[in-house]
């Protein structure tokens, strides 16, 4: 297939964009992340899978401080995540996030959803922000809906808008938390296609998903999480055909029935 070629088009650079070392997190007494080590290079694409409750969402939410970690360090684009609010806001502006349930702002039109971040966070003039917004709406093939409200769009369309909204901030990294698992099957493809296009352009991506086809064709590395740890991290070929860990084989056999 041409998967290999795609991977070569945008191969990772040597620069690290995210460095996580020995990171732990607790929810009360519950030790949800138990020593995460993860380095992500610029333009690298990582897919994380694993059983429900294993801490995948928590891990990527720690990267933009939607959750606070208690031990270890997380460095994003050279800035360490601490309680420094200014730093957190700066990092959040560099890290785009796409949620399972889209989380568009229902009281704003699509174009206002997109222009809001650039205008208020990046201080871009309104007109320019709206031009950028239209550019990204075209990119996710939904420009004709610009004046509508989120409630008037289908799930797949809403998720594409959510992706465009993140892109408008011109992020260094995009985090995806099960972006297609709340969608009806016929809408999954339109969202995955947009993500594949993004990948082709060299976006750094961390994607939590169980779409194994997507992982095979797009990821540089696929990881398996369980019990708050990254149990296996491998190239897609190795991960799917020659897994090191028993847990990975079990997981794959369950998911690929």
């Amino acid at each position: 297939m041409n998967d290999q070629q795609e991977n070569k088009i945008a191969s990772p650079s040597d620069e690290n964009i995210i460095e996580i070392t020995d990171m732990h997190k607790w929810f009360g007494d519950f030790h949800v992340l138990q020593g995460i080590d993860l380095t992500v290079k610029k333009k690298e694409r990582i897919v994380i899978c694993g059983p429900s409750g294993s801490g995948k969402s928590t891990l990527i939410r720690c990267i933009n401080r939607l959750e606070e970690h208690q031990r270890g360090t997380i460095i994003v684009d050279g800035m360490e995540l601490t309680n420094n609010l200014k730093n957190i806001e700066k990092i959040r502006a560099e890290v785009g996030m796409v949620f399972q349930h889209f989380n568009l702002f229902p009281h704003l039109t699509i174009i206002d959803n997109l222009a809001l971040g650039p205008i208020w966070v990046r201080k871009v003039p309104k007109k320019q922000a709206e031009e950028t917004a239209m550019h990204y709406l075209e990119k996710v093939h939904i420009a004709e809906q610009a004046k509508k409200y989120p409630g008037q769009l289908s799930g797949g369309q809403q998720q594409r808008v959510a992706i465009a909204r993140s892109l408008c901030m011109n992020p260094q990294v995009m985090l995806f938390d099960e972006p297609t698992s709340a969608l009806d099957p016929e809408m999954i493809k339109e969202v995955l296609d947009v993500m594949i296009e993004l990948a082709r352009e060299g976006m750094t991506m961390i994607v939590v998903t169980h779409e194994m086809g997507f992982a095979k064709s797009v990821a540089h590395r696929v990881m398996l999480m369980d019990f708050g740890q990254i149990l296996e991290s491998n190239t897609p070929d190795e991960f799917f055909d020659n897994a090191q860990h028993e847990r990975t084989k079990l997981f794959l056999s369950q998911i690929l029935i």
Binding site: E89, R92, N103, L104, F105, H107, G117, M169
Partner: protein, 364 residues
């Protein structure tokens, strides 16, 4: 009939005659079943017994321009009590020959309110218009500049006073209530408990006692020589009282917001202030428009309680008129008149809220 049968194929079925028109409607809505028919008949009898006498009392037998004693002869309503005393009712003790000033102030105020009703008109110029308008109203009421004679606030009364207390009360209480609601959700414990204690204390006390306290007890704590005018104290009491209720309503709206909205806003780097202002409050406040307007409407009506600390609001001026020996016994007419004024205020508010709700509906 034959036609109808053929038409079924083209999916245009006409309803049977009996189901449409006046008779059909009456059958469906007034006489469907024995119980409903009995209710309808009883209602009709009651209406027949009450409406015609009411109409002849209010309109046919009523007197409009007569003196008190003449009124007592007549059998119908004595609207003369209004037509003779309307200036006392509307403007209270404000110097008679200067009453054009509160009149213009009220006209400016109502004009501005009407113009502001349409959201299309909301702009920074309207903001300036309000600032200038309020300034002009203040000067008209208070005087003491230019050639305008000074009029003490203790002489203010009637409609301008009621409108002043309620409109200022509501416009200050609303944002204060929103701030209190946000404070109650704050992660900073001190602020949080301050707001909780404030809200619960105020809600645990009737407005009447707050007004008493502000008017009789509060001055005892002021240093000697400092006086705070009675009107201002009542205004503050109304604001503090209403804000606590607004806060609870808004809190309900905030609790209805999903985590996802906060997260989406935060994850793009919006700070707390912008998240609240751009994302959370616009949605939360919209959800609670109906209960908020209920709170505001009752606050509007509750301003009539200031009679007890002897401010001359509409209620007080009306009572003064009906205590006049010449007009004794016509309290019905006088109360109907101010009830109508209050109704106009409340009805416009709920109309506006319904309109706003519809305009802000984006289908979620």
């Amino acid at each position: 009939m034959e036609n109808t049968i053929q038409d079924t194929q083209t999916s245009e079925i006409k309803p049977p005659i009996i189901d449409v028109g006046v008779i059909g409607w009456m059958k469906a809505n007034l006489f469907d079943g024995v119980f409903n028919s009995i209710l309808t008949i009883i209602t009709l009898i009651l209406l027949y017994k009450t409406v015609p006498p009411l109409i002849s009392w209010a309109f046919i037998d009523s007197t409009w321009l007569s003196t008190g004693p003449e009124c007592k002869e007549a059998t119908g309503a004595c609207w003369s009590v209004i037509t003779t005393n309307y200036r006392l009712i509307l403007f209270g003790l404000y110097p008679y020959e200067l009453q054009w000033r509160p009149l213009i102030a009220v006209i400016i105020l109502i004009g501005l309110l009407f113009y502001s009703k349409d959201r299309k008109h909301w702009s920074k110029y309207l903001g300036y218009a309000w600032i200038i308008g309020l300034f002009v109203m203040g000067i008209l009421m208070r005087g003491g500049v230019l050639w305008l004679k000074s009029v003490e606030t203790s002489e203010w009364g009637g409609l301008p006073l009621t409108l002043l207390l309620s409109i200022f009360g509501l416009t200050v209480a609303y944002p204060l209530g929103v701030i209190l609601a946000l404070g109650r959700q704050s992660k900073m414990t001190f602020i949080k408990y301050l707001c909780v204690v404030y809200i619960e204390l105020i809600r645990g006390v009737p407005l009447i006692s707050l007004l008493f306290m502000s008017s009789f007890i509060f001055p005892l704590f002021l240093p000697e020589g400092v006086t705070l005018n009675n009107l201002l104290r009542a205004q503050v009491a109304i604001i503090l009282f209403t804000a606590a209720y607004v806060a609870e309503v808004v809190r309900g709206g905030l609790q209805g917001m999903s985590r996802g909205q906060y997260e989406a806003a935060e994850s793009m780097g919006l700070n707390y202030y912008l998240t609240m202002r751009l994302i959370i409050l616009p949605q939360a406040l919209r959800i609670v428009i109906p209960p908020t307007v209920s709170v505001l409407i009752s606050a509007f009506k509750d301003t009539s309680l200031v009679v007890i600390i002897s401010l001359w609001d509409l209620m007080k001026t009306t009572q003064t008129v009906i205590n006049d020996p010449q007009w004794m016994g016509f309290s019905r007419e006088a109360y109907i008149f101010i009830a109508l004024l209050y109704f106009l205020g409340c009805f416009s508010m709920s109309n506006f809220s319904r309109k706003l709700e519809k305009e802000l509906d984006t289908g979620y």
